[in-house]
């Protein structure tokens, strides 16, 4: 009679209704959201890129600012997915009780969580795309291969949304998310090759970085923006998909335990 929290997800297209709800809210609040997603990373990219870049030689055959642009696409995607899955997701789950309202209709928690996953990935896709468009307009990438960055951003968004939803399932308040940002997200900014090549780090850090999802997003996006097919791209893509799928499964089990038991 009792269903296990670990039973496989029941997937359906019903998640689209919930996704559309989140989209409608976003459309109402789009201006500050776009500003936040775009202005912040752009300031770092342009500031460091021009300011610091002048003093630096080319990095792997590109200007430092082009190198940094690729890193910024990835970090913006990561940030947007994490914020959406945690702060906004927690708000909908716990503060506004939006999920409760939805689950009184013929929609299940599995549908709601899939919607949150895809929505956070969609929003991070928009954030990453905004950076990519600006980087293209400024001439930091001129490669047709850069179009492949679009699916990579979506996969990166799914991976970080899944991890964020695990935190949301465990969280008691907004403050809880600071641990995750300070202990996981911010270190990744330093370890995963956003600002500088990861091989500048001591070997132990490089080995640790290999297990972090942002490393694999950067390993795909940077060559693609520099007109190169990434080395070992199936491996990097597989890692992102694994984080997305595995993370989502854990997030779903923890959320079922929290809300349905």
């Amino acid at each position: 009679m009792k269903s296990s929290i670990w039973s496989p997800p029941l997937l359906s297209l019903r998640f689209i209704h919930v996704w559309r709800r989140n989209m409608l809210v976003w459309r109402k609040l789009a201006l500050p959201s776009v500003l936040g997603n775009l202005a912040d990373p752009m300031l770092y990219m342009l500031g460091f890129g021009y300011g610091l870049g002048r003093m630096l030689p080319d990095v792997f055959g590109t200007s430092y600012i082009a190198f940094l642009a690729a890193g910024t696409v990835c970090s913006s995607t990561m940030m947007a997915a994490s914020f959406e899955a945690m702060y906004s997701g927690f708000s909908r789950m716990h503060v506004q009780k939006t999920w409760d309202a939805i689950m009184n209709a013929p929609v299940t928690l599995d549908d709601v969580l899939v919607a949150e996953l895809v929505w956070a990935a969609s929003k991070s896709f928009m954030a990453g795309s905004a950076v990519l468009v600006v980087a293209t307009a400024l001439g930091f990438t001129q490669s047709a291969l850069a179009l492949w960055v679009l699916p990579v951003m979506f996969a990166t968004g799914l991976a970080f949304a899944s991890l964020g939803l695990i935190m949301t399932a465990l969280s008691v308040s907004y403050d809880f998310f600071m641990y995750y940002f300070t202990l996981f997200i911010t270190p990744m900014m330093m370890l995963c090759g956003v600002f500088f090549p990861a091989d500048q780090l001591p070997p132990a850090f490089q080995q640790a970085a290999a297990f972090l999802p942002l490393t694999h997003a950067v390993a795909l996006v940077r060559p693609l923006m520099n007109d190169t097919v990434p080395a070992a791209w199936p491996l990097h893509a597989a890692v992102l998909v694994l984080f997305a799928a595995g993370g989502f499964y854990i997030a779903l089990a923890l959320t079922r335990r929290r809300l349905l038991k």
Partner: protein, 303 residues
């Protein structure tokens, strides 16, 4: 035919059995109330019936569908007014209804066609474009009720529908619920307000500590569980008067704070005695649902 049948429902959280063997049955067209103090297990019972949480034991069927296995299908014919307001604060009144209708798989045209009547019903016809934040508590409740009707449900669940509302707002909600009952909707509500239960419900179950203590129409419950006459005695010396005469003059005598409640079939001797005691004040009235409720659930404070 029954819309909802629950048999021997049980649900524990930790070591506490919140629902401890509940049997329920709802027939089409009736308004059924679950009356109980805070923490009696009312909300958990509703969640079990809606398939939002799995029972530890027992069976539920709604519209002859097994719950929780087919809860999603069953909920397509159900409307829910939750205890805690969960309207979408970023949306207007109209958007709240539109977005909620989509969760039922309804088309935009279908929802658009339903919205005017629902707004009219909720008394919000001129507030369609207003933000939720601009609405009063009573308006929000009415909108939540309208939202629960977006799919034209056969069965409506309401969890403490008027808690926190002022008297005017409560009366308006009651009026709307009677309207729905008159339309043939089946209603399942929880409450801890006697007047609400007495006014609205054809049948009531009094619940406490996870169990159904009694079930029947408000009149049946009063007739079955309590003496028909009550005299409330208060004032200086009520306590000592009760100790001296209470037992002899009435069938049952209970004390809460400074008031003594005397229950009896014939209160003439009691009233006669009280007339000799000018220092005591008293109130003679027929027994009501509250007396039944307090008799069955006790007079201790619930936290």
């Amino acid at each position: 035919m029954t819309y909802l049948v629950a048999r021997d429902l049980r649900k524990s959280y930790g070591t506490q059995e919140v629902v401890a063997g509940v049997d329920l049955e709802l027939k089409p067209g009736e308004c059924f109330g679950l009356l109980g103090p805070n923490g009696a297990g009312k909300t958990t019972t509703l969640r079990l019936c809606l398939g939002l949480t799995d029972p530890d034991a027992g069976t539920i069927s709604m519209f002859d569908l097994p719950i929780p296995q087919s809860a999603r299908e069953a909920r397509a014919r159900v409307g829910v007014v939750p205890q805690i307001d969960n309207l979408d604060p970023d949306f207007t009144v109209r958007e709240n209804l539109m977005v909620y209708g989509r969760y039922f798989g309804l088309t935009k045209a279908h929802i658009d066609a339903r919205i005017p009547a629902l707004l009219e019903f909720a008394g919000l016809a001129n507030r369609a474009g207003d933000n939720i934040k601009a609405l009063s508590g009573g308006m929000k409740r009415r909108l939540t009720l309208a939202r629960a009707l977006i799919n034209d449900p056969d069965l409506i669940f309401l969890d403490e529908p008027t808690t926190g509302l002022d008297p005017q707002a409560r009366h308006l909600i009651w009026q709307r619920l009677r309207q729905l009952a008159a339309q043939g909707k089946t209603i399942f509500l929880t409450t801890h307000f006697m007047d609400e239960a007495e006014r609205l419900c054809h049948r009531l179950a009094i619940m406490d500590h996870g169990r159904i203590m009694a079930i029947g129409s408000p009149r049946e419950l009063v007739a079955a569980h309590i003496e028909p006459q009550v005299v409330e005695v208060f004032g200086d010396g009520a306590e000592s008067w009760a100790a001296e005469h209470g037992g002899a003059l009435c069938e049952r005598c209970e004390q809460t704070g400074e008031t003594v409640f005397c229950y009896a079939h014939n209160v003439e001797p009691l009233l006669h005695n009280l007339e000799q005691r000018p220092e005591l004040r008293y109130l003679h009235r027929p027994a009501n649902l509250e007396d039944v409720f307090l008799r069955l659930t006790g007079r201790d404070l619930r936290d």
